[in-house]
């Protein structure tokens, strides 16, 4: 039999495994395998190899799934309250910032009234106005840092 035919059979054999064959090629290959014992043996051998590949047993380490489930649950518990806490912290910070912006003219007028009626120096008024703006974000930052420290401590313990 022509060497090229065997070569073609091997190529189609591989293609049948990787991509699948069209009807014409499939018929040709089937007929070739029926007539050529060498190629038929190669085909059978490859099928055996793939069958063995599918059947490769793996022994999973004992309790791996249980240990993983525990670890995942711990991580869930660890991150959920923090995530929920962060959401509310950011929400409150955003609300505080919006309130600060909208109330800034009133606050400035309030400080000006204090200065006019009680003789508070202008520098003290300006300092008070700056504090009005900076205390909320500083507090939020402190809470976030404290929360992170607690989370890190919890992780180290577990």
């Amino acid at each position: 039999m022509n060497e090229n035919l065997h070569e073609r059979a091997h190529q189609l054999l591989a293609k049948s495994l990787v991509e699948g064959l069209g009807p014409v090629d499939e018929t040709w290959l089937r007929e070739h395998l029926a007539a050529c014992s060498g190629c038929a043996q190669d085909a059978a051998a490859m099928q055996n190899v793939l069958r063995a590949l599918r059947a490769v047993p793996v022994s999973i380490p004992r309790d791996l799934a249980a240990r993983t489930q525990l670890r995942v649950r711990l991580r869930t518990q660890q991150s959920s309250p923090a995530a929920a806490g962060s959401f509310w912290l950011w929400a409150v910070t955003a609300a505080s910032w919006l309130l600060g912006v909208s109330s800034a003219p009133l606050v400035w007028r309030g400080f000006a009234w204090l200065g006019a009626n009680f003789g508070v120096p202008k520098l003290a008024l300006e300092f008070g106005f700056v504090l009005w703006w900076t205390v909320p974000p500083l507090l939020a930052a402190a809470i976030i840092l404290h929360q992170k420290a607690l989370t890190a401590e919890w992780s180290n313990k577990n």
Binding site: L13, A14, S16, L17, V18, E19, G20, L21, E26, L29, R30, L33, A34, A35, S37, A40, Q41, A43, A44, A45, M46, Q47, N48, V49, L50, A52, L53, R54, A55, V56, P57, V58, S59, I60, P61, L64, A65, R67, T68, Q69, R71, V72, R73, R75, T76, S79, S80
Partner: protein, 207 residues
């Protein structure tokens, strides 16, 4: 003339992987987004065999495969919102696991799975540690499987991976391309070369 044991069938189509298809994948995506611990428990139970085997095939190192197995599920928890339910869960899972293997390999100065074997010279895959060979040898028990296992040891990791995903996990070409983040043409090319390499290794082993 012997009757051919080979039966002409189309290339393996992706099998139904124990339950999760379209509607279910959407439910799965919702559960992952909500970080549902019960769902994760079930997934870990369901995919433990396949994920561990995939990791063991890639790394050849049981302790490392075990670490990466746990790390994969932590990533699934943390990045669950990225799974959109449009693809199979196992494809997404294997892609996460594969990236972790590559990260672990980088720590050993290996930039990708391709570097685990020399593509040009087709140098056999060198297991990451001396225990790997014996461990992989333990994978197979029957005589025929032993010869396959020995042959698998001789072919590069990137061929071993693609053969496993196609013929053991029975993923489709597009799904494998998704896992490996490579074009389908590359997947096909690796499958053809992997089959040839496996066949050559089997022939040499038999000689």
């Amino acid at each position: 003339m012997s009757t051919p044991a080979f039966t002409l069938t189309a290339a393996p189509q992706p099998l139904l992987f124990a339950g999760f298809m379209t509607d279910d994948t959407q439910a799965l995506a919702t559960g992952l987004r909500q970080r549902d611990p019960d769902l994760l428990d079930r997934l870990i139970e369901q995919y433990q065999q396949r994920l561990y085997r995939y990791l063991l095939f890639l790394t050849g190192n049981p302790p490392l495969a075990e670490d990466l197995f746990q790390e994969t599920w932590i990533r699934v928890l943390e990045r669950g919102s990225q799974y959109n339910g449009k693809s199979k869960f196992e494809s997404w899972l294997f892609a996460i696991a594969r990236n972790l293997v590559i990260d672990a390999s980088r720590r050993k100065k290996i930039s990708s799975l391709e570097d685990l074997g020399d593509q040009e010279s087709n140098t056999p895959y060198d297991p990451p540690d001396e225990r790997a060979a014996s461990v992989l040898q333990m994978l197979v028990s029957r005589e025929n499987e032993q010869s396959v296992q020995l042959s698998l040891l001789k072919i590069p990791a990137y061929y071993r991976e693609v053969l496993l995903l196609r013929f053991s996990e029975e993923l489709g070409l597009e799904e494998i391309a998704g896992v490996m983040a490579t074009p389908v043409s590359t997947v096909k090319s690796r499958l053809y070369r992997g089959l040839a390499a496996l066949k050559t290794a089997m022939t040499e082993g038999a000689a």
